[in-house]
């Protein structure tokens, strides 16, 4: 069983193999770990690695089209993308095209547009103001470039991750 995972910006290749004794051999980017894995209930995972006990509550992301899982354990909360390595290559090529997409960092309402398509933007320059939970936040351009398009208008309500604008 092989998959690629992504946590934040960082990706790694995972491979899993069942051992004869019922334990698991996990290769994390080639680094081996021997783990005993148990499932106390369907939301909980117990890992014993070299005698250390790790317990996680986990869930699959409820948003349609997402392949992330959520993990909570040891005081940490992590969203992990789990995917087939072949799809990962296709994603990588899109990123190389130099076009940056601005996605909504949270669900909210577009209160105001700060730049029009065709505008030259500096890195960090505000593109629009998004309001959620009574706070107004500027969504800024991740890079210097030209504002190619705006996908929203003032007054629009957007979901988390919705495309707002493209910068090249």
């Amino acid at each position: 069983m092989i998959c690629e995972i992504q946590i934040g910006e960082r990706t790694a290749k995972l491979s899993l193999e069942r051992e004869a004794d019922g334990g698991w051999k996990i290769l994390l980017d080639g680094q081996p770990f021997a783990a005993d894995i148990a499932v106390p209930n369907r939301d909980t995972l117990s890992l014993l690695i070299a005698g250390r006990s790790y317990c996680f509550a986990w869930a699959r992301d409820g948003e349609p089209g997402r392949t992330a899982i959520w993990l909570a354990g040891g005081g940490r909360n992590t969203a992990v993308e789990v995917r087939d390595p072949r799809q990962a290559r296709a994603r990588h090529q899109v990123q190389l095209s130099g076009r940056a997409r601005l996605n909504a960092p949270m669900a909210g309402k577009v209160v105001k547009l700060l730049a029009a398509p065709g505008a030259l933007l500096e890195a960090g320059q505000g593109v629009l103001v998004l309001e959620a939970m009574k706070m107004q936040n500027e969504v800024r351009s991740p890079k210097a470039g030209t504002l190619l398009s705006l996908a929203v208008a003032a007054g629009d309500t957007v979901a988390t991750g919705a495309l707002l604008a493209e910068v090249e």
Binding site: R10, W24, N41, W70, G75, R76, P105, M133, Q136
Partner: protein, 503 residues
């Protein structure tokens, strides 16, 4: 004593107040907006009535609808909680006109103290030190520029009707004043229905320390120790503790007396909080009075052993405070963390979503005041506070140790939240030595993330992800197997492979 109380609020504070009613044998009535039909306070209350659509203006901020709900259920009193209508003198007066007891100070006291500008005037008249700035709201950008030029940058813009960091902006140079003035005004207008902002000299990196006050209708007015609330982001508190570390008993008492003097000048009754800025030399400046129960009231409860909502209800019903100033003897140390649905890595932006897993901590010295449950979708219409985690210890070190333990036990996932940020704070030598001021969070975040633990953290998450992948073929105990059909297992595995099986 009242037989039935309507709680004009939502979230954790509504749940907290339902508990107080239950402890007193009083029937509790929840109110809700459409998006809150299944919110925890609705599920826990004895009765629940719909207010209206989800925007606060149509529900929790709508005086007519709240009063109508109170009439329909036959409540004798209304507890406003914090936020929403809690500091609205017009609402308090309307309750009185409708024959209902408003659990809080009188409308006159609220008017005298409730707006920050009115409170500044009162403090000035009573020789309580305030920061240089405008006593009244500024009415134009031009006026703001003029005042700022006179007192010098940096300046702080604040909503006159405000609280909770909304409508508040630090401005360090003249060029930023116009846009900050517009944003602060717009935020204040949306949050409080009043766009007025005033301006004062900004003390960089002050400490924010507040005094809890409590008065009955028989002339008794007490202060119940202080709370240190300097750990803030977006001008909003995230960690509070009592007693304040590094504060001399002399200053503490002077602040307590000033707080009581301000309250007495306004004929204050019920619970309230007087906020001060404290500088390096322990000079203190009056900031404002919150004429209501405070979010962070549990830290005071844990060190004093008193129940503030119950005392609020008792004094609102006309009872005398059953103790005097000399009886208030704080013991030990308490710390609170406000657990928010927000992303510390994205400048603490609100991050609404569905709580997919929730297992709160427990054990000695741990209290959790929560307003959510597993499966609940945090709405984007309101403040994203999920719960408050509070620990008590015999001293600060024990309270800190218990908080670290609780943070490690806490399992909460499905959305972004700030528990990881708290873990970082409670490992930071600056916080552990009690050296916090309002610039603390920015300084902490400017430091590079400690790399060692982060790598381990990453590795553990990766291994746990591997375990999830493996778990599809690990035999589960009988109980778990029943609810995990082969179909579910197959779908889960397909999703993990990136196929997404379309569900």
């Amino acid at each position: 004593m009242f037989g039935k109380i309507l709680i004009a609020n939502r979230g954790e504070i509504a749940v907290r107040l339902i508990r107080a009613c239950r402890d007193l044998g009083i029937t509790s009535v929840a109110v809700y907006s459409d998006v809150d039909r299944c919110a925890l306070h609705v599920l826990q209350a004895d009765e629940a009535f719909r207010l209206g659509a989800s925007p606060a203006a149509d529900s929790y901020l709508n005086i007519g609808r709240v009063l109508d709900a109170a009439r329909r259920c036959g409540a004798e009193a209304i507890h406003p909680g914090y936020g929403f209508l809690s500091e609205n003198a017009e609402f308090a007066a309307a309750c009185g006109d409708a024959g209902l007891t408003f659990i809080g100070p009188s409308p006159e006291s609220m008017a005298a103290l409730g707006s920050k500008t009115a409170a500044r005037r009162l403090a000035k008249d009573n020789n309580i030190p305030i920061l240089e700035g405008t006593v009244d709201a500024v009415t134009s950008v031009e006026e703001a520029q003029k005042v700022a030029a006179r007192i010098g940058f940096p300046v702080m813009l604040k909503a006159a009707a405000g609280g909770g960091g909304k409508g508040m902006r630090l401005v360090t140079r003249a060029a930023d004043l116009a846009s900050a003035y517009a944003l602060a005004g717009a935020e204040a207008g949306a949050a409080f229905g009043d766009a007025a902002v005033f301006l004062e000299r900004a003390v960089l990196a002050p400490r924010h320390i507040e005094i809890q006050i409590l008065g009955d209708q028989h002339g008794n007015l007490l202060w119940m120790g202080e709370r240190e609330c300097s750990v803030q982001r977006r001008h909003q508190k995230v960690i509070e503790e009592s007693p304040a570390p590094r504060l001399s008993q002399k200053t503490r008492e002077a602040m307590g007396k000033a707080a009581v003097a301000a309250a007495r000048a306004a004929n204050y009754t019920n619970a309230g909080t007087v906020e001060f800025l404290v500088d390096e030399k322990e000079n203190f400046y009056f900031l404002e009075v919150n004429t209501r129960l405070q979010v962070e009231h549990p830290v005071t409860e844990l060190v004093t052993g008193l129940d503030l909502p119950i005392l609020q209800i008792r004094v609102a019903a006309g009872e005398k405070l059953p103790f005097g100033q000399a009886d208030i003897a704080p013991r030990g140390h308490a710390i609170e963390c406000r657990v928010y649905a927000e992303d510390p890595e994205q400048n603490f932006m609100p991050s609404p979503g569905t709580i997919l897993r929730l297992r709160p901590p427990a054990g000695p010295g741990v209290r959790e005041d929560s307003g959510v449950y597993e499966g609940w979708t945090v709405p984007l219409e309101y403040d994203p506070l999920l719960s408050k985690l509070i620990t008590w210890g015999e001293d600060r070190a024990q309270a800190v140790a218990r908080m670290r333990r609780a943070l490690e036990e806490y399992q909460l996932t499905g959305l972004r939240h700030n528990l990881g940020f708290f873990r970082r704070v409670f490992a930071d030598p600056g916080f552990l030595s009690g050296h916090t001021d309002t610039g603390y969070v920015a300084r902490l975040l400017a430091q590079p993330m400690p790399t060692g633990p982060r790598d381990t953290e990453w590795e553990q998450a990766a291994l746990a992800a591997a375990a999830v992948a493996a778990s599809a073929s690990v035999p589960a105990p009988a109980a778990a197997t029943e609810s995990t059909s082969p179909w579910q297992r197959a779908a889960r595995w397909a999703a993990m492979q990136g196929g997404g099986a379309g569900q």
